[in-house]
Each structure stands twice: as C-alpha cells, then as structure tokens.
Symmetry: C2
Subunit: 188 residues, 2 copies
Amino acid sequence: MSDKKQDGRIKYTKMVLRDSLIALMREKPIAKVTVTEICQGADINRATFYAHYADPFALLSSIENEMMLDITEKLGDAFSLEDTDLPAILARVFEYIKENSVVCSVLLSDMSDTGFQAQVVAMLAKQFIVEWTTIKSISREDAEYLYTYAAIGCVGLIRKWLTEGMKKTPESMAELVMKLSNRGYSAF
Amino acid sequence: MSDKKQDGRIKYTKMVLRDSLIALMREKPIAKVTVTEICQGADINRATFYAHYADPFALLSSIENEMMLDITEKLGDAFSLEDTDLPAILARVFEYIKENSVVCSVLLSDMSDTGFQAQVVAMLAKQFIVEWTTIKSISREDAEYLYTYAAIGCVGLIRKWLTEGMKKTPESMAELVMKLSNRGYSAF
DNA sequence: CAATCTAATCAACACACCGTTGATTTATTT
DNA sequence: AAATAAATCAACGGTGTGTTGATTAGATTG
C-alpha cells in the first residue's frame, strides 16, 4: 500500500505547482512560462520541480491527463446505463466543464497547447460514433469526417460558451449540439 | 516610392527566415524553436533577426498574416461575383490550401499556435453569415453558436484532410462541408 | 562612376533561465 | 526512536537572450 496513498508532501507539491501554472496561464501562454516563475508562485524549490516534471509542458500534460481521467470516471455512470443517451452524456460533459470552469477555460484557451482539446475531441468523437453506429449509405472515409466535424464543432462551442461566461445551461448547450450535429443549419 | 519596393536584401532575409522556421516547425513546436536555430538554418546573423522580429512568435505571426492577406486577395474575385456562392468559395479555399499545403499543414498543425486557425475560422464564419443571412426563428445568440460551429468544424475538416494527404478533391471537400453544415448527420 | 544611404555581419556584453549535483534539513512511516 | 523519503539550498557550467558599436557589403541616387 505504499504507492496507493502518495506522501502528503508530494500531493501538496503537485497541487501548488499545478495551481501556480494555471494562475500564470491566465496571463500568458504556456510557451512563455518559465520553471522559475512557476516555483516562485508555488513557493517551491526549483530542484523539487525537476524531481517531478521535466518542464512546464510536462506539468501541463499531467494536469490535462488528470482532468480527462476525472471526467471519464464521472461519466462512467452515464456510460454504464445501457441506453447510452448522447444528449444526457453531453449535458454531463457540459456540467463537468462548468464545475471546473477555471481550469477548463485555461486548458481550452489560446494560452494552452492543443493537448486537452484533442483529448476532448477524441472522447466526444467516440460518443458520436456510438450514437450514430454505421449506416450503409456512408463510406468509412466520410464517416470519419462526420465524427470529426461534429466533435470539433462541439469543442468549439464549449470554448465559445466558456469565454462568454456560460450563460446558457449545460442542458441547452447539449441540445444545441444535438440539433447542429444531427440536422445542421436546417434545424433552425 | 522608397517603401513600396522593399530592398531586395530585406526580402531575401525575410524569405529565408520564414523558410527556416517552417522547416523547423515540421519537427518541433514553435514554443521550442530558438532564434539561434532559425538563424543557423537561414544562414542569417542573429542580430539581423532581431532587426526584423521580436521573437520566433512574431515571425510566425507575420507568416500567418501574409497567408491570410494572400488568400483573401485571391478570394476577392469570388467575393465580387454578386452571387456569393458559398460552395464555390469553400472550394477556392480548399484549393488555395492544397496549393500551399506545406506551409498550411504547419500553420494548422499542433506545432503552431492557434493564430492562423483562429483567422481562418473568422474568415469562414463571415462567409457562413453571408450565406445564411438572418432567419427570424433564430436568436442572435444561437446564430453566433451556429456560425462558430460550422466554421470551426470546417477548419477541423481541413486539418484532417491535410494530415491524410488531401486525397479528396477540394470540390468534394467543399461539398462535404456544405452537407454537414446545412443538414448535419441527417444528410447521409 | 562616385557618393550616399541602408542592410547585414561580427564580436562582445551582461543577463536570465536551465538542468543537475551533493549535502543538508524536514516530514512521514514503521 | 530509527529508518526512510521528500524538500531545500547553494552552486555549477551551459545555452539562449537581447542589445550595442564598429565594420563590411549591397542598393540607390545624382
């Protein structure tokens, strides 16, 4: 049981480093954030940073991966329901993002890299594939473009939603995505 | 007339710096590219670089802006046609990107920042707005999400198209975008 | 052509951040 | 209380930065 519960000191160190980086990335892009800065903000020795991460990008990656783990974990319930209800899943995703809006805003902003965005797209694409299953009249090639279009468009809406202060409810956003992906412009 | 025709030396310098950066960005993200590297690849003195650009990001920005100027210029014809034919415009955009696929691949890849992508999205969104004009039954808020979704999804398809070696023709890509944006999944 | 700009080169500078090391202090576990 | 593991600290050589002033090479004009 020695590795299951990480040393409290490690947890603390990782937490403050994480918070410090997120705070910095509200002001400047990851590319211009230095290890020195992160450590100053976290009040952590620079050598300690290197004991855990190779560089700021590695720290960012670990934040992204943690979020993805967390979100797929919390979506596990939705998945296990035999009727995989795409609108419901989307609403859950939007809810999760709203609950973690500070971090998600940063991870999906221009200050970040494309890692988190790509992961969310991949996750959503899977859901669209499940929902739409294969149709005869569509080639595999077209199908891939179809999933891609829907998933990327969806993440685009998430970004717009976040930057505008999440005025619409998660449910109405999920509904909007369903309308757009299913029927596009003709839905209006 | 002294500033209209730039000194040939300046043109040369900017060209080789540009080419060097693009070459480097096929291997590594802009964030990890150094001024020193760019200058080595271009066989240009480092001081000369700083005479023109503040840092590699500034150089990248100028490349992005040049491309956008060029593309909107060449699309000028399509715009001036009174009947703004969205499928035709899209096909022109796809054609342009194919002609400049090396640079566009880089500017739209994960190695780049989001600047070029954002500019293309903005340009396309405008076109969708022109095409769709205002409908009564849709709120201004929903309309913005609609344009955003279509434009971002479109750029997503461009990226996928590029990474897969542009097997489909520009025309068929334009058609695909029209189908997806107008009728979504139900178009298939 | 010669004189005059103007751009590019070169060497050198102080500076900041990097990534690592070895020794020390502090916290956690047994 | 002893053993283990993490964080701290100071210091290191190394690399890239951004700027400067002097020099060389190219472009432009009379």
